[in-house]
Symmetry: C2
Subunit: 415 residues, 2 copies
């Protein structure tokens, strides 16, 4: 008989022991395992072109133009439908990507190593809010910015990091939680602390100072810059708990805009998917719920390891961005203790007397209590080419957890 | 009959309307009104050399050596006792200084203008924690750092500011309160946000990049860097409410390490002083209450205008630095509403549902309720030459408020 409690303790202990550190910045093609010149990675569980949502299609159109594989939208759609491009889940390549999560071969990516377990994780760099590839926009400005990120930002950060040395991302997350971030939809502190740490390296780098100044202006102009680095750290943490025999702990949650998928430690690589839910949120002026795509993105890797929506009590000011009251934010965090295995030993919430965040979702507890994980998230327009229209709160479909529990019972012969 | 309520509304409205903006960085001798080559400004109400506390004497010894007016400690003491040096309160020169607050002619200072009322305020730059002039230390390292601040840091910030343009300090304070600072003893967010804003200017400046990198490293290494800029902003705000006929609102609180002094809007320049109190605090390893000097410094200008100790509910993590529990921090803020005139319209506390901070101390309410303003503060060693030994909480002496109320009754013929 499998000892589930013991397996879960081992699994969640791996989350707690993880030490994700930024060790480099590289080109996706060079550093992401299994990447090819014609591979496009995307957020969430695997999905075929014909089933992809508008924003994911939009981001892929943009990526094909950015890579020079297509000249325009029509060519890009033709190529994407041709079968010539390999689409795959970021998660199958130790990677994550926010919203559409589209990661193409030329993009610069953060390389985060989990120093405790030796595994690595990757995430591309954040473009800013509004019209951005990850929300499905692919206008000229979007492509131009991606080129600048490839040619200036990526190399600048790479050289700066080599000067200042590896950066302990978990430490930045821990500090950011003391400063009103929850490290998913509020990243102002994390972005500030990252910039402070890498700044001397940027200044000492060999880049022309106009470029260095632009890098500072770009990061200063985007309070979400830290998100993608934080996500890579969460992914490096999450993957360390994969494949613990007998564990019912979730180690992946992800959405591709069509499906929500979870993976469970004791069930290896298998995805449990169901249609992605609608988001309850605040919309930018001129947009409303009828414009919204269902839930999309890998950024829910934050909640998977105990921050983001699970740490909203640390970030009261986030309600101005995702809706609700401060009391709601505290209640969301409190309710997550019902479905998790432990309190985090590093991620802490000042207003709950420095209590550790609820960490390690147990699919059994989700089914028993009927409480679903709380996720805060950006909202993409449902049509390709438009971009972000708001931000809000969402849950995974219960079916993912139900199917996973049935599969777990079968796998381990539990009646 | 004077209309006290109306006068107080006018006084506190001036606090609320104030828009303190960083407009320049200059040399104290050049920019502070009434500064001379032989003037040394200090924190708190005026005090003569013979009555000065250890840390204030230590800081003055250091300043005289730094200015080249003395070669060593003995010469400095001789000069300080000779009557040749003009000692005066920072507050008499539109200035403030943390702890000893010693400001000498060659020091670079922030120049903050209150855009609403046109008045200016000044504060020197923060040296960091531990062995620092403002805590009474004057070793070789302290003097060397002051020289570097004069020769590199000040000019670098001055040029950078001229490139990025004026910086709205109130806006930085408002954001910092959303990020777990209370802008007195926790300034990690404020320091980060200031650095983000000035960074492109530093990079574009004409300084050698080694110097620019050192400036980034210095500010990144000192989470209190923002304090002195914030204090100048508070002083610019506070002074705008001076001299409102009939107002019982406090517009200055300050300590020189011997005396605590307050000034009241309707009573003009007059100080009401009493012996400074002992601080209840956390000590650095190797130090204890027997080492502590009584309360010292102008940083209580923060509490005077509604932040610092009055905003501790915004900064739960500060209890790790000054002692107490998170609940205490919230209670301190809550109790300050009892002795203040209004809720701030800009400084807000996320955890109290974005309620404005308690703003504008009314001496009548202090006497009626018996509740004294709460101040959080650093602790200096009582002997010259040692430096900071801890941080904690303190109140002003009740006598300041009692004497002020008696004087108010006399001034306005109230029985």
């Amino acid at each position: 008989m499998v000892d589930i409690e013991r397996a879960n303790q081992e699994a969640v202990q791996r989350f707690l022991n993880s030490q994700p550190v930024l060790v480099g910045i590289g080109k996706a093609l060079d550093v992401i395992p299994g990447m090819t010149p014609k591979t496009i990675l995307h957020a969430g569980p695997p999905v075929t072109w014909d089933r992809m949502s508008g924003p994911l299609k939009g981001a892929i159109i943009g990526a094909l133009i950015y890579e020079g594989l297509a000249q325009d939208e029509n060519q890009a759609i033709e190529l994407a439908s041709s079968g010539e491009i390999i689409f795959d889940s970021c998660h199958h390549h130790n990677a994550v990507g926010p919203m559409a999560g589209v990661t193409s071969p030329s993009m610069p990516v953060f390389i985060v190593e989990n120093k405790t377990y030796g595994n690595k994780a990757y995430c591309n760099l954040n473009e800013g809010l509004g019209k951005a590839l990850r929300f499905g926009a692919y206008g000229e400005d979007v492509i131009k910015r991606l080129k600048w990120m490839e040619e200036v930002l990526g190399p600048a950060l790479k050289e700066a990091l080599s000067i200042v040395g590896e950066i302990d991302v978990k430490n930045l997350q821990v500090q950011a939680l003391m400063m009103g971030d929850e490290c998913h939809n509020r990243n102002r502190a994390g972005t500030s602390l990252f910039l402070r740490q890498i700044a001397p390296g940027l200044v000492k780098s060999s880049l022309p100072k106009e470029d260095v100044a632009k890098v500072f202006e770009f990061i200063n102009g985007n309070d979400h810059f830290f998100l993608n680095l934080s996500m890579a750290a969460c992914k490096a943490t999450a993957d360390s708990a994969k494949g613990i025999k007998g564990s019912t702990m979730v180690y992946t949650m992800a959405r591709n805009g069509t499906d929500f998928g979870i993976r469970v430690s004791g069930l290896g690589d298998k995805w449990f998917t169901a249609p992605a839910e609608k988001i309850r949120g605040l919309y930018f002026p001129g947009f409303g719920p009828e414009d919204a795509n269902p839930d999309i993105g890998d950024s829910v890797i934050s909640e998977t390891i105990g921050i983001g929506g699970f740490a909203m009590a640390a970030a009261p000011a986030i309600v101005q961005f995702v809706g609700g009251t401060v009391k709601d934010a505290i209640n969301y965090t409190q309710s997550m203790y019902e479905i998790t295995l432990t309190e985090n030993n590093a991620y802490r919430i000042p207003y709950l007397d420095f209590k550790g965040t609820p960490t390690g979702i147990d699919i059994r507890k989700v089914i028993e209590t009927g409480i679903l994980p709380i996720i805060n998230t950006g909202i993409a327009h449902k049509k390709p080419g438009i971009g972000q229209v708001g931000a809000g709160l969402v849950n995974p479909p219960m079916k993912c957890f139900e199917d996973a529990l049935i599969a777990f019972a079968e796998e381990y012969n539990i009646e």
